[in-house]
């Protein structure tokens, strides 16, 4: 039951996975707890509640963030994407599909955070962002090769205690290759259309 707005509660609207959710929240409520306890979006996991494990990773305005360190009241007006928003209907996101096919998990509890992180990693990489293991960090250098080492470095904020890192890295690499193939296919199709 949502209490009325007061000095300790506020009525807010959250934009999550393209839908608007109106709710009244305790000012102390984290975005993670709002998702899990108030909106029944339990795909985002609470592993430590301290920003140390990455299980609660979501995308906030397209960038990854740990939702346990965000207050729900401060997330108004921002575009929130959770694991529930990754698939297109029945069609899994390429990262999700790769995790499924290559067994990029075991218990599954860190998985939504790993997948959200991986989706953002691929975008950050494509945008040319360097990491701590990137050799050439000049802005004009462009995206470095997406090696296993690059993936590991960029994914290191997400702990997996089952120890499924090897298959997670393989899944992220597979998804990156799928993305690249899709992009090339799309480019080829565009070129073909233009020529026609």
């Amino acid at each position: 039951m949502a209490p009325a707005p007061s000095s300790t509660y506020s009525a807010i609207t959250l934009n999550i996975n393209g839908e608007k959710y109106a709710l009244s929240v305790d000012h102390r409520t984290t975005l993670l707890d709002a998702l899990r306890e108030r909106l029944d979006l339990t795909g985002t996991k609470k592993g430590c509640d301290q920003g140390q494990c990455g299980a609660c990773t979501i995308l906030l305005d397209g960038r990854r963030a740990v939702s346990c360190l965000q207050l729900a009241v401060a997330a108004q007006g921002r575009e929130i994407t959770t694991i529930e928003g990754m698939a297109q209907g029945e069609r899994l996101h390429p990262v999700q599909q790769a995790f499924l096919d290559l067994d990029g998990y075991q218990c599954g509890y860190c998985t939504p955070g790993q997948i959200c992180s991986a989706v953002a990693v691929l975008e950050e990489h494509a945008a040319g962002w360097p990491s701590a293991v990137t050799d050439d960090v000049r802005p004009e250098a462009g995206p470095p090769p997406l090696t296993a080492e690059e993936i590991r470095e960029r994914m290191s904020g997400n702990l997996c205690r089952c120890g499924a890192y090897v298959s997670i890295v393989q899944a992220v690499a597979r998804a990156a290759a799928t993305d690249a193939t899709d992009a090339e296919t799309a480019e080829a199709e565009n070129t073909a259309e233009a020529v026609a």
Binding site: T8, D26, R28, T29, D33, R36, E37, D40, L41, T42, G43, K45, K46, G47, C48, D49, Q50, Q52, C53, A55, T82, I83, E84, M86, A87, L92, Q96, Q97, F99, L100, D101, D103, Y105, Q106, C107, G108, Y109, C110, T111, P112, I115, A148, I151, R152, E153, M155, S156, G157, N158, L159, C160, R161, C162, G163, A164, Y165, V166, S167, I168, V169
Partner: protein
Amino acid sequence: MTTVTTGTTTAKGSVGTAHTRVEGRDKVTGAARYAGEIPFAELAHGWLVLSTVARGRISSVQDASVLGMPGVLAVLHHRNAPPVETDYIGLLGVRPDPTAAVFQHDRVPHVGWPVALVVAETSEQAREAAEALVVHYEEEPHDVAFSGSRADAYPLDAHMPAVSEKGDLESELAASAVVLDAEYTTPEEHHSPMEPHAATAFWDGGRLEVVDSNQGTTWVAGELAKMFSLDPASVRVRSEHVGGGFGSKGLRAHQVAAVMAATILQRPVRVIMTRRQMFSLAGYRSPTTQRIRLGADADGRLRALEHHCLSLTSTVHEFIEPGAGVARAMYDADAHHTANRLVRLDVPTPTWMRAPGEAPGSFALESALDELAEKCGIDPIALRVRNEPERGPVSGLPFSSRNLLACFREGAHRFGWADRDPRPGLRREGRWLLGTGTAAASFPAGAAPSTAVVTAEADGSFTVRIAAADIGTGARTALTLVAADALEVTPDRVRVRIGDSDFGPAMIAGGSMGTRSWSWAVMTAAGELRERLALGTGVPPEGITVRSDTSAAIGALAQKERHAFGAQFAEVAVDVTTGEVRVRRMLGVFAAGRIVNPLTARNQFIGGMTWGISMALHEEAVRDQSSGGHVGADLAGYHVATHADVPLIEADWVDDPDPEDPVGIKGIGEIGIVGAAAAIANAVWHATGVRHRSLPIRPDRVLPGATGAPHA
């Protein structure tokens, strides 16, 4: 009557074929709901309050002011909590750890002991009230100092005898051409599953229901029934998805506190441990101090083997980490002495953690074997070949199958071991010194009685019900494949339901015994069902159901040494300027019976090996001697391996048949960690020429050695 199609689409061979997880789609979309994620109307939230002193008595709990805080419904503590029973033996043959029997007296035996539960309408209100609750203590001096020189250590028989002794150790050592005497230590380690322990308790029509995250619903339901003096049939525990366990998810304080609060308030109450609370409430692996003495002929044949392991426990419950047990299966010697001893301190009770005994024990023993190989001037693998026993070194029983040497042969070939120059400290790549190491692995292959229910549905599908737990092992998928083969149908016609104590008694996910034990029950019921269907009488609308109970079959199993074996290989690079150790590659080759699902099995082996990296280089819970509590009890202070620490790890297996075994499956959950830390430590020696006998191999421990200074 519906005509069933069984028999027309005979299928076998699901076992042994890679199969993605049957619940995989739910896990990658966030649809899989874990224990703390099932919605309940009128749910109240409990927050545990833990002691801040290491020893003493609670003089007062100032609950009056907290009860007036917004939303607070109740404060439970030792003055108002209902009494519970602790004088019983549970499913695993041991008494409960009284830590779970919360709020029964005013004594405080360690920092982080549960002293109260605050229940409120919302988790925010419960947390604030719990943090505001003032508890006064009469503090007493505490003792948390663990060391190998404790005079009060004593041997404890637990699930194995404390001591085994064969032959005259001193005379064999005296007669040995080569002698090694070394002490090894491992630190306190924590399971740290990603999903914190969570339970929701409620009463429904006179039945107690608990939605929980645990490694065995039969186990937890049985413990709760005994503790609350309830008819076992009136307790139902469910645990559908479990976010890791590793030994920590049995009966714990949060379930008992939730049941107490739900009983008093007559509404659903959820209690979830915080990450910090897990460090004192969820169990852990004791630190160990181990002494190994080896005596050998010049060619490496062992004449004397002594392995002593000291671990600690709390003052309220005896749990022993049997590190010295691994030698009883691995190596024989004319004189063979092993002993596990215990010391009691003002600390939380440790518990089973992935490869209890074998993980720390193999670090010491397999490091010692490597040191002996160096002293004898022979190859570490050749040393193990030379000491391969015909029968159990202590029991004298035959091995059901022992393919350790096949693992070494295959592993050495794939790792490129033959090209290795055994001399240490020779390979340099810039600031990195490179080295390789190997170690053997073993873990018992046990089985425990379980029951299963298999139903042929009228629509031609099959439903398997078993109180198994899938804590990330892939058990749900493995049992689907096992059932499909036993029914001779394709896996898509089989639906496996697990994690519900109402399905009948079953073994826990633990001791690498789960899949072996459950598969046995599923194969038995499914096999009988297939025979009944073959009679062609058709399936009535309510289906045909067959139940199995493997108690008699397991009781009739011949007495043998039953173990999985493996060979671990690691290559490391050691930075001489920072002391950092990086694992560059690992290979594990295992002999673990029939591999049910290669996809998930490989992942699980690699997961265990990843734990080996973590154990070798990172994990160490530090206890502050003055407060008696932890320093940095969280995932920033307690380091577990992350992506950047873990290179490409390969795991594979060799044939390991046992025609006399009805299921042929050995567990694989634990053997991946066994020997892994030793392989890494041995590789660090090969890189630097310095032996590291204390884990983790931290930079500050590496630096003096890497620069040629004496080893600290």
